[in-house]
């Protein structure tokens, strides 16, 4: 977690200043994902708090069944966690092997933050599923998921594609596409039975 330079070892520094600074940094990055434009903010000051929050939120929303029962969705929670983090690490390794000049944690940061649109899609899908099931229900969810999936791809490639040499951009972007596709698939096929 990149920090601003503070006075070294000042014993009177409270905890509230680093806390507010980190919270503001996370909020700023969420804004950058929602309105992607070419900027270095996501890359320069990386942090992994946003991806952690998004991952936990997504995993909680993807639970099926009641929370108190014996087989209470435990494996699905861990499954979402593993897919997100293992997928992000794999993409990062892939882009490093292709010769990209982005560091390990920066890449994880970007991929994690760009899950935000899909998390919003999950929220919308859960609300839509409260209405009666049917083809219209499904079409609405499909439409929302496709839009958010495209948004995630655009946001992440805006940050990641620049770090690759021009002839390798497609090779680096293709696993990102697969990663968000798998998450979108999990969201679309979710039924709260």
């Amino acid at each position: 977690m990149a920090e601003a330079v503070e006075s070294p070892g000042d014993p009177e520094t409270t905890t509230s200043r680093p806390l507010m600074r980190d919270l503001k940094a996370v909020g700023k990055k969420f804004m950058h994902v929602l309105y992607p434009r070419k900027s270095n903010t996501l890359l320069r000051d990386w942090d992994l708090w946003g991806p952690l929050i998004l991952c936990v939120t997504l995993a909680l929303m993807l639970q099926r069944g009641s929370v108190d029962s014996e087989k209470d969705g435990g494996p699905q929670f861990a499954e979402v966690f593993v897919i997100v983090w293992f997928g992000a690490v794999t993409i990062t390794l892939n882009s490093k092997l292709l010769g990209g000049n982005i560091s390990f944690f920066q890449s994880l940061c970007v991929l994690g933050y760009c899950i935000l649109p899909l998390t919003m899609a999950m929220l919308v899908c859960r609300l839509v599923l409260l209405a009666e099931p049917g083809p219209i229900n499904f079409m609405v969810r499909l439409f929302v998921v496709i839009i958010m999936f495209a948004w995630s791809i655009v946001a992440s490639t805006a940050f990641l594609a620049d770090s690759q040499p021009p002839n390798r951009k497609a090779l680096a972007v293709y696993p990102v596409f697969l990663f968000y596709f798998v998450i979108s698939w999990m969201i679309l096929t979710f039924t709260p039975q």
Binding site: P11, L19, V67, E70, G73, S103
Partner: protein
């Protein structure tokens, strides 16, 4: 020595100050940041306790997992940003420069003769004890989860190992500094401990 005594007299008495200690000895064994020390240990120990006892108290795996994740995250943030700086004067972070290269920076506060800026031994002991014992426990849990096939806990346990191991590694690098290497530091530390035990040394080392 006498100048230090007058400084000590005007300082506030902290929670763990031993009143019967003579004022000839510099007071370095009191805890200056009781809240930081408490929270340094609180999050780590609660995460371990919740992990061990969750099957007894709650039938919901999810609630336990989310609680442990929350505690581990709070602990990581607190130890990295607050307690290391306050208790032992060390800090570490990552800095990305203009060219996009990432540098890891490890810093330790220079010992100064002012009373407010030295490291107290009690706090240092608490800090390092908490920092070292907990990741070791999480590694033990990882092996036990693996070999008893309770694989659904592996995600949380691995997260514990990674987060707490990262702090441990960062602070050890800060302590060792960029010049010495780990083996020479370990040898000198063990040598000093051995010497202290054999000579029954009770004097505190001056300035660290």
């Amino acid at each position: 020595m006498l100048q230090q005594d007058s400084n000590d007299d005007t300082e506030d008495v902290s929670l763990f100050d031993a009143e019967e200690e003579t004022t000839n000895r510099p007071k370095k064994s009191k805890i200056r940041h009781p809240v930081a020390s408490f929270f340094h240990l609180f999050f780590r120990v609660s995460a371990i306790i919740v992990y061990l006892l969750c099957e007894l108290f709650s039938s919901s795996f999810i609630a336990c997992m989310v609680t442990i994740i929350l505690l581990l995250s709070c602990d990581f943030w607190a130890v990295k940003n607050v307690t290391g700086r306050l208790m032992v004067g060390l800090r570490w972070w990552n800095h990305i420069d203009e060219d996009g290269k990432s540098h890891w920076v490890f810093e330790s506060r220079k010992a100064s003769p002012q009373e407010g800026k030295t490291v107290s031994e009690a706090e240092s002991r608490i800090f390092w004890l908490g920092l070292i014992a907990c990741p070791v426990l999480w590694v033990v849990f990882a092996f036990s989860a693996l070999f008893s096939f309770r694989v659904k806990w592996l995600a949380v346990v691995i997260m514990g190992v990674v987060l707490q191991g990262a702090n441990l590694y960062g602070y050890i690098r800060c302590k060792v500094g960029s010049r010495k290497n780990l083996t020479s530091m370990a040898t000198s530390y063990l040598g000093r401990q051995f010497l202290r035990q054999t000579t029954g040394d009770t004097q505190t080392s001056s300035g660290e």
